[in-house]
């Protein structure tokens, strides 16, 4: 009887499906796009499929709002829909939407097959959304793999280009390599606690002093996640992969999978309340931002420069993780979440400009090519300037508040040296962003660089990104409040509630 009841409990209810509605919708649209691909006329397919995919993201966004009305656990405690997960789900979907918009034209100029492209983005988002809501390590793993594999493929989409395939290969091999570490960590964690459910693990770790195995498991999981978020010393893949991958996809994979990975990292660090993560995170943060910024100083390829910049930003973001006392945790979490959002807004925008400007075959990606852009295309230049200023962290832009929150969180935790390293780094970093601005406005073009007229898709994408960047820079309150709310959700799971939600021991287990 009890077994039956237990089994009844594990049968998904309607509300369970509501909770994963965004994922379902995205998958459905992905399949639609995939199926339609061979059916529609090839000339028209680019735009049609893109619009369908975009529509999918819009519907998914609406459904996110709907799903948010039904917070709770679903599917036998594999996912939890709370404001934390909604935040990240929403974020990755928005990123996907903007990337899809900015890809319309890119598809045409690069002559890339659209069906798979959009479908992969949509499926990838499903994986990321699941990562952010999953509380079951199996689920996290699957989500991680979905997001990773789709981005591996997307990175190699310009498959006639040696650089693109190389990028894809490096990403794939190193990604799998790191995933293996992560998985090993999960295995050890499972070995240490006997569960793969984060809630259960957290509870077990709370009740008893952490074993050595837990430390080892955490270390290995950090390796895997550190790789995904491009934190030093696991960042080495980033520049190569970003340089070779198609520009809109770089915009996508530097933000969305990263955001999802950060969500997992947040869960692991704060929800599990992993022991001893402090110094590791401290050093990783300091190292990431320093290495990223310093390496970017002499880059002349804009994509590569932005890749290094993304390493640096991962470093800033990690500062928020290095919280010493639990009391400071919500501040750190919300700062990190805000940072993810702000970084997404500005970086997606920046890559939208880069991909538009790159033209067929991604010919124009060096700093030199950008000379005189302020004259030849003031709108592109102005947009890119806004994004770069945001990346520098100049007021009125989201990047400023992002850094601001992170630094103040670090200071709240009394991490004065880390903050100093951070602020000095952001000053150094200003130099190479500034170089792009300088080149665009202050140098005259030495050669003819054709700038394609800005199409509707790119224009919308840019408008959205700029709006988001400025919104976060002028009125960060709303987003921050949501982030804080989410942080509470992530942290404060009443033990009683947790116990009630505990999964039954596996039915097959013998007692």
């Amino acid at each position: 009887m009890t077994t039956f009841l237990a089994q009844m409990q594990t049968i998904p209810q309607g509300v369970d499906y509501v909770r994963i509605l965004p994922e379902l919708i995205l998958s459905a649209f992905g399949i639609v796009v995939m199926v339609l691909d061979p059916l529609v006329d090839e000339e028209k397919s680019q735009k049609t499929l893109g619009l369908i995919a975009f529509a999918g993201t819009v519907v998914a966004l609406l459904s996110t709002w709907y799903a948010a009305q039904y917070p709770g656990l679903a599917f036998s405690n594999t996912v939890r829909v709370d404001s934390f997960s909604i935040f990240f789900t929403f974020l990755v979907i928005v990123i996907a939407a903007v990337v899809i918009l900015s890809s319309f034209e890119y598809m045409a100029t690069q002559r890339i097959r659209a069906g798979e492209y959009y479908a992969l983005i949509l499926f990838g988002v499903v994986g990321m959304a699941l990562m952010s809501s999953a509380i079951e390590l199996v689920m996290i793993f699957i989500g991680l793999e979905i997001s990773s594999i789709s981005t591996y493929i997307l990175a190699g989409f310009r498959r006639n280009e040696a650089s693109s395939t190389e990028s894809s290969l490096k990403y794939f091999l190193l990604g799998s390599f790191a995933t293996a570490f992560f998985l090993y960590g999960v295995a050890l964690m499972f070995g240490a606690t006997g569960s793969t459910n984060i809630d259960v693990i957290a509870q077990k770790l709370q009740s008893a002093p952490a074993e050595l195995l837990v430390y080892a498991a955490m270390a290995l999981m950090f390796v895997g996640l550190g790789f995904k978020v491009a934190a030093a010393p696991f960042h080495v893949w980033t520049p190569d992969v970003y340089e070779g991958a198609p520009a809109p996809i770089v915009g996508f994979m530097s933000t969305a999978p990263k955001a999802a990975a950060f969500a997992v990292l947040l869960r692991v660090v704060f929800s599990i309340n992993a022991p001893g993560s402090f110094w590791f995170l401290w050093i990783a943060a300091a190292l990431s931002m320093t290495l990223g910024n310093v390496s970017a100083l002499v880059q002349t390829n804009v994509k590569r420069m932005l890749a290094y910049s993304s390493i640096a930003h991962a470093g800033y973001l990690l500062m928020a993780f290095a919280m010493t006392s639990p009391a400071d945790s919500p501040i750190g979490i919300s700062a990190a979440m805000f940072y993810t959002a702000a970084y997404a807004a500005m970086n997606v925008g920046a890559f939208a400009v880069v991909s538009h400007f790159a033209n067929a075959g991604e010919r124009y990606v060096t700093l030199e090519d950008y000379a005189g852009l302020g004259r030849s295309s003031p709108i592109l230049a102005a947009s890119l300037t806004i994004f770069l200023l945001s990346l520098i962290g100049i007021p009125v832009t989201g990047g400023f508040f992002a850094k601001f929150y992170v630094f103040s969180a670090a200071l709240r935790a009394n991490l004065i040296w880390l903050t100093l390293i951070g602020v000095v780094n952001s000053a150094i970093g200003a130099y190479y962003y500034l170089r792009i601005i300088v080149v665009m406005y202050m140098r005259e073009a030495r050669k003819e660089v054709p700038v394609a007229p800005i199409s509707f898709g790119v224009a919308t994408a840019l408008t959205l990104s700029i709006a988001a960047t400025l919104y976060l820079g002028l009125l960060p309150n709303r987003v921050l409040q949501i982030a804080q709310h989410s942080a509470q959700d992530l942290l404060i799971q009443p033990p009683a509630a947790r116990a009630a939600e505990n999964p039954q021991p596996a039915p097959g287990s013998e007692h």
Binding site: E42, E136, I142, E145, R159, N160, P507
Partner: protein, 178 residues
């Protein structure tokens, strides 16, 4: 006291380790692939010792079978020859290998310290297909279903990347020679 259980474990284990080392030593990929198949088969044996029947079966069918066939197929397709001895990376040798050694030793130490001499009986946890199936369709329903998307992606990816560059993304093939 040496039990049969232990002997079997050691035998499979020896094959595993031997295969793994052979994988590293062999210069021709096809040999490495065959070593890997040996490792996987032996691992299936270990799984059986632990009672994971379903996993063992899947290991043989999917892993050693399907996946490795794919590997071999690719090796053949690309006509991969013997590995050249190129000087590529000092970092891998100077940092990577010592790092690997250090890491493994530490992990081994941790693992040993953790589980000590606690023994696991043969067939300790019978993972019959039925029980696994129950789990997959109840507790792990969502991951299981989501796996389909994973597979879908993989298929699409394979199609996109491996298909001959024709059609809309055609155009002259650009080769880079360095």
């Amino acid at each position: 006291m040496i039990s049969v259980h232990l002997i079997l474990f050691l035998a499979f284990g020896a094959v595993c380790v031997g295969g793994a080392v052979n994988l590293l030593v062999q210069r021709h990929p096809i040999n490495s692939a065959l070593s890997l198949i040996a490792v996987m088969a032996a691992l299936a044996g270990e799984y059986l010792l632990l009672g994971a029947e379903f996993v063992a079966a899947v290991q043989v069918i999917v892993y050693a079978g399907a996946i490795m066939v794919l590997f071999v197929f690719t090796i053949m397709l690309l006509n991969a020859g013997e590995e050249e001895k190129t000087k590529g990376s000092r970092v891998a040798i100077l940092f990577g290998v010592p790092g690997m050694l250090l890491g493994s030793l530490l992990l081994a130490w941790v693992v040993l310290r953790h589980s000590g001499t606690e023994a696991v009986p043969a067939g300790a946890l019978p993972g019959a297909p039925q029980t696994i199936g129950m789990l997959l369709f109840h507790e792990f329903l969502l991951p299981f279903e989501v796996t389909s998307i994973l597979i879908l992606i993989a298929i699409m990816g394979a199609v996109v990347l491996a298909s001959k560059p024709t059609g809309p993304s055609g155009g002259p093939q650009r080769r880079v020679t360095d």
